[in-house]
Amino acid sequence: MAEIAGDRLPAAASRNEMRRPARSPRRTLALLALLALFCSALFMTLGAHGNWSFVLPFRAPKLAAMIVVGHAIALSTVVFQTLSGNRILTPSIMGFDTLYALIQTLIVFLAGTTFLAVSDPRLIFAAETVVMILFALGLYGSLLKGGARDLFRLLLVGVILGVLFRSLAGFLQRLIDPNAFVVLQDRLYASFNSIDTELLAIAFVAIGIVTLIFWRLLPLLDVLALGRDIATSLGVDPDRLTRVSLGLVAVLVSVSTALVGPVTFFGLLVASLAVALVGSRRHAETLAAASLIAVICLVGGQTILERVLGFDTALGIVIEFFGGVVFLAIVMRRGLT
């Protein structure tokens, strides 16, 4: 069949060389890992003035929290993008973390702060996460079932759900008494400067387990990225995989929101950068890159803000600003096709 060989584009050979990624994903990943280590080392040591016994225990939980949160956001975003079949939607844009805020508000509203004060925080966290998983599966599971072909509908529903949850939470917060509100605010808008070490330990375990499960699901997610029909033909049940993954994403969002509060565009930022740097051929590579980029952004950004610029609360704003710009750029360039 000579005619088939003939329809090769004329410049095929040279373009072939050109379009190959300049670096192999492995090398990029190694570089990112080095950079992440470098940022962590700087964060721990810069400006310590030899007070190691004070500085290390003070900074270590902060660093650990940033790594946990960065990894959770990166993992949840990349996986959610595969589940929804596009690179624009993220759990945060779909209202996942405002849902978590609403659940927290509801618990304070219904059970009161005394209940929170006397109960084991691990138990409360577990309960919140379970509620979160159930809600996420109920709400988003039905949206993603049968394929998320209609991106506009998903985006619209997500934005509306996000506003709805935020308004409901705001409404409840106005009803509860001021003391309870202070407790709640402390829980909802925690930052890296006030890390609850007990929560951090739980977060570590939860994220560790979720990461291990996703590790086993990686080949299946690779297949799902080919689309539902091909995945089915290759023997992967898209609905089942979506349910399982969505539940795990809910855990990740719970953990990261519990530790540092909602971040809207950070996930999109790191996921887009990861795809740009290592491509999207394998989830193992994309996820690892996204995690490392998230750690670099958080730890590196925090170091610069604290040590170089001399103030320490604005990291979230800076990251959200760049994340928002990336989001707009993606939407404008691709026109949501």
């Binding site: 329809d7 379009r19 299946l220 023997g235």
Partner: protein, 252 residues
């Protein structure tokens, strides 16, 4: 091999597929033809478990498609639909490698790579193996997807309108490939086609559908006739034998 028994699909009140029964046992090419909305793709999708079955049952190698584990079916039957929106940016070789997933669960062995090479060679995609899919023309991309299906190495292959968006040269070479897959590799191929002439030129058996029902089923000579085609499409046509090839011509 493939057995569909009174398959029915409802969209609301209407039966888009109405008690369609079909049995395929021997290697060869079976073409499903019919007007738009006749239920061709829906029938194919139900057999391939891409759509839930409302009534009736479908079997592949005696296994009920609604009850058998996806992984077991994926080694027996493969399906390719017309629109495939990939989220991942893959090379041709990556894509074909995914065809081996039912056998290797994502860890390609030397045997898998041999199968991938075979598929590349069969579709003459060797020179394009390292290219990304978004750098290919529509016809080349279509061939890459067919190569993935061949690498899956199932006896039954279902293709839903594989000629969509292909010009006549690429459409003919695609159908020759389908023919070769049946003749040289012993595949049981079912193709949904819009063009009656492609069905009559390349298929062993033609199944004609109208309003969700199978209204004719048999060899080309029995189905591609003026009477049957007029009944199926609601359009008077001329069927002529031109140099031993049965062709269907419309009137102005």
């Amino acid at each position: 091999m493939i057995e569909a028994a009174a398959l029915t699909k409802f969209y609301g009140e209407t039966r888009v597929v109405d008690r369609a029964s079909l049995t395929l046992t021997t290697p060869g090419v079976t073409a499903i033809i019919g007007p738009n909305g006749a239920g061709k793709s829906t029938l194919l999708s139900m057999i391939a478990r891409l759509l839930p079955i409302d009534e009736g049952r479908a079997f592949v190698d005696g296994l009920d498609v609604t009850r058998t584990k996806g992984a077991d079916l994926a080694r027996r039957i493969s399906v390719l639909r017309q629109e495939n929106g990939l989220l991942a940016r893959l090379t041709v070789r990556d894509l074909i490698g995914f065809g081996r997933f039912p056998h290797s669960r994502g860890r390609l062995t030397a045997a898998d790579h041999a199968k991938i090479d075979e598929a590349l060679a069969f579709l003459e995609l060797g020179p394009l193996a390292g290219r990304y899919l978004d750098e290919l023309s529509g016809g080349q991309r279509q061939r890459a997807f067919v190569a993935m299906v061949l690498a899956q190495d199932t006896r039954a292959i279902l293709l839903d309108e594989p000629l969509n968006n292909l010009d006549i040269r690429h459409a003919v070479s695609m159908m020759r490939l389908v023919r070769r897959a049946a003749d040289e590799l012993g595949k049981v191929v079912v193709v949904v086609l819009h063009d009656i002439n492609f069905a009559s030129a390349f298929a062993d058996r033609v199944v004609a559908m109208r309003d969700g029902r199978i209204v004719a089923d048999g060899p080309v000579e029995a189905v591609v006739t003026e009477a049957v085609i007029e009944a199926v499409f609601g359009l008077p046509v001329m069927v002529r034998e031109i140099e031993g090839q049965r062709s269907c011509l419309f009137r102005r």
